[in-house]
C-alpha cells in the first residue's frame, strides 16, 4: 500500500529553490565541560546538518579548543548557523572558512585492505600514487594512513573497494586559514 505523500512543510515553503552549499566553520571555544554538547545540541535542536565535526584543544594555557564543523544548507541557513553559534556564551569566535576562500582543509584516514597476490600489488601501487603510508601490514592485509582533502580520501577508498576494503576510520576535516595571520 502506498503511504500518502506528505505535504511539503509550510515553513520551508518560504525559502524555495535555495541552493544547498557545504561550508566549513571554524569555531574557537573556551575548553570547558559541556561546550561540545552545546555546539552539537544547537545543530540538533535547530535542525541543522553536520557533515563532519572535529574538536581538540589548541591552546592549553588559555583553555582554548577549536571545533571545525562542515555543515550544509542554504546560504541563509549557513548565516543563521554562524550567528547562532556566536550566541553560545563560551564560543569566542566563529569563522566561515568557505566564505574567506583562503583556507586549507585536511582530513586523515586509516584504511584497512585485505587481499593476496595481484590485489596486494595494486593496493601498494595505488597507495604510492596517493602518498598513503603503510602503518600496519600482515601477509594478507595493509593499513594505509592517508592525509588530504576529503574528496581525495573518498577517491582512495573507492579504489580500494574492489581490491578488498575492510574498514575505514576518518578524523573529519580540520581546517586553517592560509597566510601569516590567524583566522
Amino acid at each position: 500500500m502506498n503511504a500518502p505523500a506528505s505535504p511539503p512543510s509550510p515553513y520551508s515553503a518560504a525559502t524555495p529553490n535555495s541552493k544547498i552549499e557545504s561550508h566549513t566553520l571554524s569555531v574557537l571555544v573556551d575548553n570547558e565541560p559541556g561546550v561540545l554538547a552545546r555546539v552539537v545540541g544547537l545543530f540538533s535542536g535547530r535542525g541543522y546538518n553536520i557533515e563532519s565535526l572535529t574538536v581538540a584543544e589548541v591552546a592549553h594555557a588559555e583553555h582554548r579548543s577549536r571545533i571545525t564543523i562542515v555543515t550544509s544548507g542554504a546560504p541563509e541557513t549557513i548565516e543563521q548557523i554562524h550567528h547562532q553559534l556566536e550566541r553560545i556564551v563560551p564560543v569566542r569566535q566563529v569563522t566561515d572558512l568557505t566564505l574567506t576562500r583562503r583556507s586549507l582543509e585536511r582530513e586523515l584516514a586509516m584504511v584497512k585492505v585485505r587481499g593476496r597476490g595481484d590485489n596486494r600489488n595494486d593496493a601498494l601501487q595505488l597507495a604510492e600514487a596517493f602518498r598513503a603510508r603503510v602503518v600496519d601490514a600482515t601477509t594478507e592485509s595493509f593499513i594505509f594512513e592517508l592525509t588530504g582533502k576529503p574528496e581525495k580520501i573518498d577517491e582512495f577508498v573507492d579504489l580500494m573497494r574492489p581490491i578488498g576494503l575492510v574498514e575505514v576510520s576518518r578524523t573529519g576535516v580540520a581546517a586553517i586559514s592560509r597566510g601569516p595571520d590567524p583566522i
Binding site: G34, A37, H83
Partner: protein, 590 residues
C-alpha cells in the same frame, strides 16, 4: 571582602552582593545547606512557592516588572525539572533569571542517586548558559558571572547546579568586581555609519512605521523615553508586539495598537503597505509576520537588535544595527537633531490620512450585550476603573490574553507581564506574585482564563502566606477559549476536549485558600463587583462569567498575509464559513 566560608554561605553572600532582595524557592534535600544559611539572615527574603514552576514564573514577573534579575532556588531532581517550563519561557521572552539548583554530591553524580537528574544536560537547551560547579573554588566566580550573563546582551535564564558537597566545602569568597566574563562581552553601541544611514532612510521615507518589541522594555526605561522622543521628532506611526506594549504609551497620538495575529486593522495594514519599517527590539516572530512571502512586500527594513542571530532569521532586512536599543535610539535622536532632519511632510500626511481610514474600521469593536458580559467589555471596564491606580497586569495564555492586550492600555513600560514566546498557560498568577513583591503597594491584576488559572492555582497559598493582594480576574467562558476558537474555525466546530468540564466553584476556592471570591455574570453589576475587588485588601479571585462563544478578532488566519484579516463583523454574517478562508497550508501552521 574576600573571606573563607562554605559554599552555601557563598551563595547567600553573592545574592546579597548582587543586590538580591527577593528569592523564590522550595527547599529539598540537595539545597538544605543553603536553606540553613538563609535561616540565619534577613537581608534576602525567601518566598516559599508551592511548585517550582511557580518560582520560575514568579521570578520572571519580578524581573520583568522591575528590570532586575529574578532569582530562584530549588532542589535537585524534580525541583530542577519542575522549573523547565519557566526557564524555557524566560529564554523565549529574554527575561534575566538566575536559577540555583541543588545537586547530589559529586561522588554520586552519574549513579542514578535519589533525586538525581542531569540538570545541566536537561537545561542546556532552555537556558542562555548553565554551570555545574564541581569545585568550591569556582563558585564565587560562577555566581557573579551568572548574574552578568543573565542580564547582559540579550537577557535570559542561567542555571547554576551546585552539588551538596560543594555547598558544605569551604573556600575563599570574593565579591563581584569589574568585567564579569572573560570572553562574553556583547557590544552595546552601534557604529555611526549605520546610524547615519538609518536617519537618511527615515528622512526619505514616505510611508514609515516603527515596529517595536520586548527588546525596548529589556533595554531599560531610558529606551522607552528615547523611543517616545524619536516618534515625536519624526511624527511616524508606531505599532508594537505583544511583548513591547507600554514602551510607547497606549494613549499616545501615533499609536496604532498591537500588530500581528490579533493586532489591529490599522497596525497590520500599515505594516503591509509601509515603505520603511524600523524594527526595534523585535524579532519577526511568526505571530507577527503571518505569511512570510507576503510580509510587507514593498518596504525597506531597518532592524535594530542586540542579538545578531535575530537579523535575517525570518525576514531579510536592508540595514541591520546590532546593538542595544537604548544606545541606538539615543544615537538616532541625537543624529536626527544634529543634522536637522525632518520627515517628508506631504507624503507623511498622506500616509496618516490612509491610516485614519484604516482606523475608522474600528477593528476592535464588538457587539456588546445588555444581558451577558462580553469578555472585551469586562477588560474595558477593568481598565476604566483602574485608570487612576498604579496598576500592573499579568496574564495567562489564550483569548483572555489577547483581549487584555487589545483593550487594556499601558502608558509605561514594565507594566505588562505576559508569556509571549512560549505561550505558557499558568504563567499569570505566579508572575503576579513576583510583580507584587517588586511593587508592594501597586495594584497587580492577573487577567486569566478559567482553564489557565488552574495550571498554577496552588500559588494562591503563596499569595495568602505573604499577604500579597493580587487580583485574579478570570474571564470564565468554560472553554479553553482559543482552542475552541481554532476548532470552530479550522476543525468544523468539533470541540474536542476543549470544554472546561467539572470546574471548581472559584468563589469557594478563593475562600478555601483564605482569600476572597467574587462572582459576576450581569453586565449591569460588573462595575460594582470590580470596585468590590479593588477595595478588598488581599488576594481575590474574581469569577467573571462571560459570553461562552465569543471569538477573538481581528485575526490573521494562519498562513495569511497582514492585509488578509478577519474582522468580527465578518464572522457574524450568517453563512460565511471562516474555515474556508484558511487554506490547507494554513491549517498545518500553529
Amino acid at each position: 571582602m574576600s573571606k573563607e566560608m562554605t559554599g552555601a554561605e557563598m551563595v547567600v553572600e553573592a545574592l546579597k552582593d548582587q543586590g538580591v532582595d527577593i528569592l523564590f524557592g522550595y527547599p529539598g534535600g540537595a539545597v538544605l545547606p543553603i536553606y540553613d544559611v538563609l535561616f540565619h539572615q534577613e537581608k534576602v527574603q525567601h518566598i516559599l512557592v508551592r511548585h517550582e514552576q511557580g518560582a520560575a514564573h514568579a521570578a520572571e514577573g519580578y524581573a520583568r516588572s522591575s528590570g532586575k534579575v529574578g532569582v530562584l532556588l530549588v532542589t535537585s531532581g524534580p525541583g530542577a525539572t519542575n522549573t523547565i517550563t519557566g526557564l524555557t519561557d524566560a529564554l523565549m521572552d529574554s527575561i534575566p533569571l538566575v536559577c540555583i539548583t541543588g545537586q547530589v554530591p559529586t561522588h554520586l553524580i552519574g549513579s542514578d542517586a535519589f533525586q538525581e537528574c542531569d540538570t545541566v544536560g536537561i537545561t542546556r537547551h532552555c537556558t542562555k548558559h548553565n554551570y555545574l560547579v564541581k569545585n568550591v573554588a569556582d563558585l564565587p566566580r560562577i555566581l557573579h558571572e551568572a548574574f552578568y550573563v543573565a542580564s547582559s546582551g540579550r537577557p535570559g535564564p542561567v542555571v547554576i547546579d551546585i552539588p551538596k558537597d560543594v555547598q558544605f566545602a569551604r573556600g575563599i569568597y570574593t565579591p563581584p568586581r569589574g568585567a564579569q566574563h572573560k570572553t562574553y562581552q556583547p557590544r552595546l553601541d552601534a557604529d555611526m555609519d549605520s546610524i547615519r544611514e538609518a536617519v537618511k532612510m527615515m528622512a526619505a521615507a514616505k510611508r514609515p512605521i516603527f515596529y517595536t518589541g520586548g527588546g525596548v522594555i529589556n533595554s531599560g526605561p531610558s529606551a522607552s523615553t528615547l523611543l517616545r522622543e524619536l516618534v515625536s521628532l519624526t511624527g511616524f506611526p508606531i505599532t508594537s508586539t505583544l511583548m513591547g506594549l507600554g514602551a510607547y504609551p497606549g494613549s499616545g497620538q501615533n499609536w496604532l495598537g498591537m500588530l500581528g495575529m490579533h493586532g489591529t486593522w490599522e497596525a497590520n495594514h500599515a505594516m503591509h503597505d509601509c515603505d520603511l519599517m524600523i524594527a526595534v527590539g523585535a524579532r519577526f516572530d511568526d505571530r507577527i509576520t503571518g505569511r512570510l512571502d507576503a510580509f510587507s512586500p514593498g518596504s525597506k527594513k531597518i532592524h535594530i537588535d542586540i542579538d545578531r542571530s535575530s537579523i535575517n532569521k525570518n525576514v531579510k532586512v536592508d540595514l541591520a544595527i546590532v546593538a542595544d536599543c537604548a544606545h541606538v535610539l539615543e544615537a538616532l535622536v541625537r543624529t536626527w537633531r544634529a543634522e536637522a532632519m525632518h520627515a517628508d511632510k506631504q507624503p507623511l500626511d498622506h500616509w496618516w490620512a490612509q491610516i485614519d481610514e484604516w482606523r475608522a474600521r474600528k477593528s476592535l469593536a464588538f457587539r456588546n450585550s445588555g444581558t451577558t458580559i462580553k469578555p472585551q467589555y469586562a477588560v474595558q471596564r477593568l481598565y476604566a476603573l483602574t485608570r487612576d491606580k498604579d496598576v500592573y497586569v499579568t496574564t495567562e495564555v489564550g483569548q483572555h490574553q489577547m483581549w487584555a492586550a487589545q483593550h487594556f492600555h499601558f502608558d509605561e513600560p514594565n507594566r505588562w507581564m505576559t508569556s509571549g514566546g512560549l505561550g505558557t498557560m499558568g504563567y499569570g498568577l505566579p508572575a503576579a506574585i513576583g510583580t507584587q513583591l517588586a511593587h508592594p503597594s501597586a495594584l497587580v491584576i492577573d487577567i486569566a482564563g478559567e482553564a489557565s488559572i488552574l495550571m498554577n492555582i496552588q500559588e494562591m497559598s503563596t499569595a495568602i502566606q505573604y499577604r500579597l493582594p493580587v487580583k485574579i480576574f478570570i474571564l470564565n467562558n468554560e472553554y479553553m477559549g482559543m482552542v475552541r476558537q481554532w476548532q470552530e474555525l479550522l476543525h468544523g466546530g468539533r470541540y474536542s476536549h476543549s470544554y472546561s468540564e467539572a470546574l471548581p466553584d472559584f468563589v469557594k476556592l478563593a475562600e478555601a485558600f483564605g482569600g476572597k471570591g467574587i462572582r459576576c455574570s450581569d453586565p449591569k453589576l460588573l462595575d460594582a463587583a470590580i470596585e468590590e475587588m479593588l477595595d478588598y485588601d488581599g488576594p481575590v479571585i474574581f469569577d467573571c462569567l462571560v459570553e461562552k462563544s465569543e471569538n477573538c478578532f481581528p485575526m490573521i488566519p494562519s498562513g495569511k498575509a497582514h492585509n488578509d484579516m478577519l474582522l468580527a463583523d465578518l464572522s457574524d454574517d450568517a453563512g460565511v464559513d471562516i474555515g474556508a478562508v484558511i487554506d490547507e497550508k494554513g491549517k498545518m501552521l500553529v
